[in-house]
């Protein structure tokens, strides 16, 4: 969190000066008026009280995301804790608690929606973007392992039968897991077809592979 304090003739001027110092927009900050500007002093000459404000700018995407998720889970009447991890340019938030299945939804639908809106809400408050991944009780990790196993199994089947297999519709992240899992297989190839949100991975034998 960055904080600036400024004094000026009016509240507006003081806020403006703080925003310039912080390099932030007005809707991204929290403004606190510490001192109201007073009326002109005696004969308009002495003791004019200046306005003083404190402007704070939360610039940590992890903190912003947790604040948003706390409000959301409270509104959903869910008790949850949040663990924040950083990996390269990604921020990973793992939500823990009991009975969190409703945060995941069918095939992770709800989790995708929560992640999408959290990224939007955080991007709105920040000048520079960072990617936020949200997981619930390690669901993504387990799903990733399941998808890799599925990909390997289906790849064997395609090799054996020589027929292509079309998978069920998946999100871009999930499709990427399949493509990556099979990228070193030389007898088969993978690609996606169809339009979002019904885009599917196809595992197909390579044409001139024997």
């Amino acid at each position: 969190m960055k904080v600036a304090e400024k004094t000026a003739r009016t509240i507006e001027e003081a806020i403006e000066a703080c925003l310039v110092e912080l390099g932030a927009k007005r809707n991204q900050v929290c403004i606190e008026v510490l001192e109201e500007p007073g009326k002109k002093g005696l004969f308009g000459l002495f003791g004019t009280k200046l306005a003083k404000v404190r402007v704070s700018y939360e610039d940590d995407p992890g903190v912003l995301a947790c604040n948003f998720l706390k409000k959301l889970t409270e509104a959903m009447k869910i008790t949850a804790d949040f663990e924040v991890f950083r990996r390269e340019d990604q921020i990973i938030i793992n939500i823990t608690g009991s009975d969190l299945g409703i945060l995941i939804g069918r095939r992770g639908d709800t989790l995708e929606a929560i992640q999408f809106l959290t990224n939007l809400a955080v991007a709105k408050k920040l000048s520079d973007r960072s990617r936020i991944i949200i997981d619930v009780e390690g669901y993504r990790k387990r799903r990733e392992e399941t998808l890799i196993k599925l990909a390997k199994r289906l790849a064997e089947k395609v090799k054996k039968t020589g027929h292509r297999i079309v998978l069920e519709p998946m999100s871009p992240q999930e499709r990427r897991i399949i493509h990556t899992a099979l990228q070193h297989e030389w007898r088969i190839t993978t690609f996606s077809e169809g339009e979002e949100p019904h885009r599917r991975v196809v595992i197909s034998p390579k044409r001139n592979a024997s």
């Binding site: 509104a75 409703i102 709800t110 929606a113 809106l117 809400a121 709105k124």
Partner: protein, 76 residues
């Protein structure tokens, strides 16, 4: 349910003080009417309704325990 839509909408718009959610509960359904400032409409709908659908998905999840059907409408 109303609070869920409020939290989500307020985090996405430029004018959070103009976010209003009206709730109308009947025996089987909960009808939520979200009103935002005209210039914020795009922020709660998104390209091809992507944001609106995400809001609906989350509200539906919150309503699972309740057992009622939820409808979320967006108004200017």
């Amino acid at each position: 349910m109303k609070e869920v839509v409020e939290v989500l909408a307020k985090a996405l718009v430029d004018n959070p003080d103009q976010v209003i959610v009206a709730q109308n509960t009947t025996e089987r359904t909960v009808h939520l009417q979200l009103t935002v400032a005209p210039e914020d409409m795009g922020k709660v709908i998104g390209k091809q309704g992507k944001i609106a659908n995400a809001i609906r998905t989350i509200v539906k999840a919150a309503a699972v325990k309740d057992g009622r059907r939820v409808i979320v409408d967006i108004d200017q």
